[in-house]
Amino acid sequence: MTEPQDSETATAARSFPGLVATARRVVPLGLFQSMVAIVLGIVICFVIMLFATADPLVAFQAFTLGTFRNAYSIGSMIAIASILAVTAFASTVAFRAGAFNIGTEGQLVLGGLTAAIIAEKLPGPGGLVQVIALLGAMAAGALWIAIPTVLRVRYRTNEILTTLMANYIAADLALFLVNQYFRDKGSGAVETPPLDESRWLLQILPPSAANIGVVVALVLAGVLWLWFDRTRAGKRAEVSGLQPAFAEYLGIHSVSYLRNSMLISGALAGLGGGLAILGISHAYIDGFSPQYGFLGITVALIGRLRPVGVLVSALLYASLITGATAMQAVSDVPYSLVFVLQGILILLITSQRIGGRRTA
């Protein structure tokens, strides 16, 4: 700590304690910015294809339109979109309350594992067990974010760091639990025994993976729209995140809203995990989530933190994911282009408006 510092660094360092104490505000993108980000992201992907393959047009067509070649892949798209929407709602609830929950991935993984275990071990009628498993998934997600929440609310610990780190702990914890206690002895992979069909969520477009999880996502969208736009509590939660000093002045217990929003966010991420297990993979399989949690953050931001916007952006994003699978089949551009796209989008979004600003 002996390198020279100019006075500006010194000032910044001085003001740092204040930075931790106040909420970060996420200012949603404008509609235009959001569309610019997605279009620009796709254009950049195309530029990458120009270099990656001899026939970029084929790859590009598969990437953008490949989903719609048959009913099966449309069904996959819907299944993925409903999970993405739910995890994006988890991010939305946290972001709008001024909490950067970057830990949806970990909450989702543990939620998924919990759902898998309940669905496998609990006897009883399928529908009831499914509901209990999903509730268990929500509880697990909420429990996993409870630690960063307490740290944030009580000790003002930066939740970006704690939720992010909790992802890695969650992944390894799940790996350990499955290996140690719940592993399917007959399988070579790290996974729990396959679930009985009575535990599967009702499929709506068989044989594709599309299931009634999409109804859950739609209902959630409606509930969140009501909560944010039509209830007093939603308004208060929003101002608590946007400007805590203003909220306190108005007589709002901003800390309670922050705490509850974080817990709800964790529960929704856990629900996403449960839906993925009961609806798509039908067992806990290590790596069952192609980063639904992290993708949900991007989807939420592209969807401008609004329920309807999130639904649209989840569909769009899911179609690109399914398209990427098709693209991999018809050209030599690999599926991982999806993650390149995600990185580009995050850069575009953050460069536009997301501020870690302090309130004055």
Binding site: P4, S7, A245, T359
Partner: protein, 502 residues
């Protein structure tokens, strides 16, 4: 007369149409403590910023030992031997004292910093000037007084000959202040020239050798301290008594609505900043609490409105004890609050005018109820925007796009339209233009006439003397004067504000 160490000659600095400093001369001699007095906005800071290279004067010259110099930057100022200690410290809390003092100019051999040498320098200077700081302690573990001494050490380490101290005692406890005075007397004894900016006449009298008074950008007096009395200084600072006859009639007070008793408040650092303040505000009167900013008003208002827990004492609103209660309860007891920090506390800049207004009505059937409605919020916002003359393109306009005056009228619309029994407003016209200022003041008078008990906390003398029915003067966290029977003149309150009664 011998040659002054530093001479400012005919310094002029204008900002647009406003002349902040108007051909001011200032002569500073080695070994003397020179106090610079004046109200906020009298030009003290502008003048010192010109001297320190933060601003370039429009005309005039700066001479050091008779040689004209150009101070183009703070770096140049330091090279010329001019050091400035600002009111707000610029230290790195996680570094040691020696590291802070040496910051940016560490003694080094190759890439390695000679920590020992840096520490030795601090130790030597600290001993020489009696500053008593351990070069190895971390700045964050130091008291504010010690931090200030580190800030001074930083200047001394550059071999300054002229040291400018901007309201140095504002952040110190009385004991730290005593100690600080000994230190700066030591500087003078060692041949440094010290320029001390202060608001407190009593302090200036104790340490200064000479005094210069600025008013409205002009130098109105310069003399040895023995040759002027405090009363004379107070009159010089605020100007001759100009009796402004207020056109606002005094109110007719009713029953007590707000009563403060023995209120003690500590600031963020745990120092007691409001001492045993007691007063009452009755329905239908405006009580003005007047004082120079930073004398505990902010903390007092926070304690009354529920934003800060008082150390002791009681706050009774409409018969309900609210001291230490959450703002929600204080509001339900009947409080409307126009906060000092308008943009940080009084509104959400990224919210629309409509949201900013209707958030104050959430608990009413007008916009609340089982489900809120945008249509009802919009109707409420449009109505109040007309009533309170908030000029925005539409209720959907973001609050941060409003002018200061319209933003404040929006806050008033939210706070006053619900006809609270008690209105607390702090610096309600700060930063507003003349028309908006007049509008805000007449709103407060109107609220009073409708029966509200209004507490007006302000540092603007004319604001308080124009519309308050009773005036209390606050200084160093205490009520030092009270004018009950008449609206005081500016000269009367001015003397009390500056501690001229002492």
């Amino acid at each position: 007369m011998d040659q002054p160490l530093l001479a400012l000659k005919g310094i002029v600095k204008t900002f647009g149409p406003m002349t902040a400093v108007d051909s001011v001369d200032l002569e500073i001699r080695a070994g003397r403590i020179h106090a610079l007095l004046g109200e906020n906005g009298a030009g003290k800071s502008t003048l010192m910023n010109c001297l320190f290279g933060l601003l370039r004067p429009d005309s005039g010259s700066i001479e050091i030992e008779g040689v004209a110099v150009e101070v183009t930057s703070p770096k140049k100022a330091l090279e010329l031997g001019i050091g400035m200690v600002h009111q707000h410290f610029k230290l790195v809390p996680s570094l040691t004292v020696a590291q802070n003092v040496a910051l940016g100019r560490e003694p080094h051999s190759g890439p390695f910093v000679k920590t020992k040498e840096a520490e030795a320098t601090v130790e030597r200077l600290s001993r020489e000037y009696g500053l008593d700081v351990d070069p190895r302690s971390r700045v964050r573990s130091l008291s504010v007084g010690a931090q200030q001494r580190v800030e001074i050490l930083r200047a001394l380490a550059q071999d300054v000959r002229i040291l400018v101290l901007d309201e140095p005692t504002a952040v110190l406890t009385p004991a730290e202040t005593e100690r600080f005075f000994e230190v700066i007397k030591g500087f003078a004894a060692r041949g440094l020239a010290v320029i001390l900016i202060s608001h407190h006449l009593s302090e200036v009298r104790r340490v200064a050798d000479e005094v210069t008074v600025l008013r409205q950008g002009r130098r109105v007096a310069h003399s040895a301290i023995e040759e002027v009395t405090n009363t004379q200084l107070a009159e010089l600072i605020i100007g001759r008594a100009q009796p402004i006859v207020s056109e606002v009639e005094r109110g007719t007070p009713g029953e007590t609505r707000l009563s403060i008793d023995g209120l003690d408040v500590r600031d963020g650092r745990g120092l007691e900043i409001v001492h045993a303040v007691s007063f009452t505000v009755r329905a239908g009167e405006i009580v003005g609490v007047l004082g120079i900013a930073g004398n505990g008003q902010t903390e007092m208002v926070e304690a009354i409105t529920g934003l800060r827990r008082p150390a002791s004492g009681s706050v009774v609103i409409n018969g309900i004890e609210t001291a230490g209660e959450h703002t929600g309860l204080v509001r339900r007891a009947g409080l409307g609050h126009v906060p000092e920090d308008r943009n940080g506390r009084g509104l959400a800049g990224y919210w629309s005018v409509q949201d900013n207004i209707s958030i104050g009505y959430l608990d009413t059937p007008e916009v609340g109820g089982r489900l809120t409605s945008r249509a009802r919020m919009g109707a409420l916002a449009r109505r109040l925007m007309i009533d309170f003359d908030v000029r925005a393109n539409s209720p959907q306009q973001q609050a941060r796009r409003l002018s200061g005056g319209n933003a404040q009228k929006m806050v008033l619309a939210r706070e006053l339209s619900r006809k609270p029994d008690v209105v607390v407003c702090a610096e309600p016209t700060r930063g507003l233009d003349i028309a908006a200022t007049a509008a805000v003041r007449s709103r407060l008078v109107e609220a009073r006439d409708l029966g509200a008990a209004v507490l007006l906390v302000s540092s603007e003398i004319d604001e308080v003397t124009q519309i308050a029915d009773r005036v209390l003067v606050i200084s160093s966290g205490r009520i030092v004067a009270e004018f009950d029977d008449h609206r005081p003149t500016e000269a009367e309150v001015g003397r009390a504000m500056l501690g001229g009664h002492e």
